[in-house]
Symmetry: C2
Subunit: 356 residues, 2 copies
Amino acid sequence: MAATIRDIAKEAGVSVATVSRLLNKSGYVGSETAVRVQQAIDRLGFRPNAIGRSLSTAETRTLGVIVPALSNPVFADAVSGVTACARQAGYNVMIAATNYDSAEEVEAAGVFMERRVDAMILTVADPQQSPALDLLDAAGLPYVLIYNQTSCADRPAVTIDNAAAGAEVARVLQGLGHRRLAMISGRFADSDRAIARRDGFLAEARSAGLDAPPVHEVDFIALNVDTVLKELFRAPATAPTALFCSNDLLAISVIGALDRMEIDVPREVSVIGFDGIAIGTHLHPTLATVVQPSREMGEAAAQFLLRRLAGEEAAPPCRLPFTLRLGESAGPAGNARPADLQDPAYTREGDSHDDQ
Amino acid sequence: MAATIRDIAKEAGVSVATVSRLLNKSGYVGSETAVRVQQAIDRLGFRPNAIGRSLSTAETRTLGVIVPALSNPVFADAVSGVTACARQAGYNVMIAATNYDSAEEVEAAGVFMERRVDAMILTVADPQQSPALDLLDAAGLPYVLIYNQTSCADRPAVTIDNAAAGAEVARVLQGLGHRRLAMISGRFADSDRAIARRDGFLAEARSAGLDAPPVHEVDFIALNVDTVLKELFRAPATAPTALFCSNDLLAISVIGALDRMEIDVPREVSVIGFDGIAIGTHLHPTLATVVQPSREMGEAAAQFLLRRLAGEEAAPPCRLPFTLRLGESAGPAGNARPADLQDPAYTREGDSHDDQ
DNA sequence: GTGAAAGCGCTAACAT
DNA sequence: ATGTTAGCGCTTTCAC
């Protein structure tokens, strides 16, 4: 079996307390004994048992991360940011995927609580109505949401202003000459951010005097976009010239489906996604999208919790800036595209103010 | 503070042993007391402390996963498979990313050992020469490699036959009429599987009597493919008509770079990747690739370890089958493409035999 | 500068 | 069917 701190103590002819002090650099230990102990450690290949330590210190130095799915690059990137931060602070990361199922959210949160993670980072379906978060609040366990759309005062979250981003999309599409917009979204019940994006999008479209864009929900798993698109493009006269998709994966599917329908993107219809996943820039046409700083979100969330656990009184970052990346998939509708927007490299900084 | 098993015992008027028995469904507990205890648990919102349990049972019910990066969908998908299996077996998953750095591999392995994970799943740079694996072997800690190319007898690994896959690529490209092949690969020092793919590719090209395809290494992080491609396509007479890329992300970059060089894929040059990441099917042209069953790999690895931990004597799956997905990016070179291969849906089952 | 001992929350004999 | 108790490996007062 693996050596214990007592084996080391015996081997070095000291007490366990001394070994512990050396391991944690807490308290004095004579330079000579230090050497003896270190040699014993090396000789036996001793690795302190973190479980024993955790039981004693009541901290696991572990962060729990709960995301809807890892197969979506947006979440994988955020987790990437979390692990990087955690690692250099000597923390570990446990992960769980919920498959966009709120029951799995509670379960994962419960499991992580039993595992006594020091804090959690999560994305839930609906932060206003979340048994998982209720659980954490009741237990007083520190957490930060990522991606979720809440006001910071409410439940701590590092995210972007999804409503502002949705509005920005409507504004830009309109600027490109589009008059008939439409939105295709994943299930709103699964995503509060999709709701915010829609609301901002619709509000801006309305205030610009456009017809209210139709909004279609699709099952993100089954991804039955074909039927929805058939419906949307049945009558050429009323067909939209621009499609706002609630996320990049969805946008990519939509572009594929339009291609099969022999509808040309962007010549006949513009498509813009949301998230800014990396491969978007490698697609043809290049994917237009709202870029979220996913990795930074994960980092910021971890950073905040780590500080808090270290006793520092840090405020959560709350709102990160988003960026519009006008890829080629949001090209001109007809010939309505203004000259000053023809540069695909055109980007525009999003708001980073802190209100809801 | 959170309630302990003793609080529950007191609250229910029983001993801690009884509470423990109820929690673990081990040993008898009267149906009447069971109710009292359960009520106490509910009343106090008690969650058993897994740390205490682990210290006592010497098992953490945790799997450690170490992969080069989470931002590569290939690894994210495998992790996805692992978490799914783990979850339904009551296990948890810790993750670490090494950034293709072998020093980080050892560090992560060491940390996971201190955390006392029950087993590990990992992808290393070189399984033949791996301090991380030496560490695990020395400690007798169960592990399975994924993606890594080893013979099963050597170090347990669930993977595909990368050499056979590389050969298959050469064979198919040749079947499409290509005579001048080339390979672009990530650093071989970082990836034993890239080496195997290359070797199989070159061997098949040779035995088919083709000129030895040039092989170019590129830095997978910096992704400086442009210079390499400039070099390859300097002289039209010797330029390759087909490019084999060691992974999909690389292939996508290559296609983008060729596009910027105004070299048409697949009209002027075919490109085929490796991995079979999901978005490949949504690209234009659709990405030709060798599909690895990533999620299944993660599942198989987890499954095997879980069985082993449960005391069952299970053999690791070792070799999973790969599939060739002949996307549009590997189209005809000139007009040499034979009629019977024109269907992009053409796929071919890979070997699943177990040899090296 | 070092040691002895209590205790973290749980499980698992062993008793009864 | 239930209780008592001795650890699991570590940290941390408190003495010396």
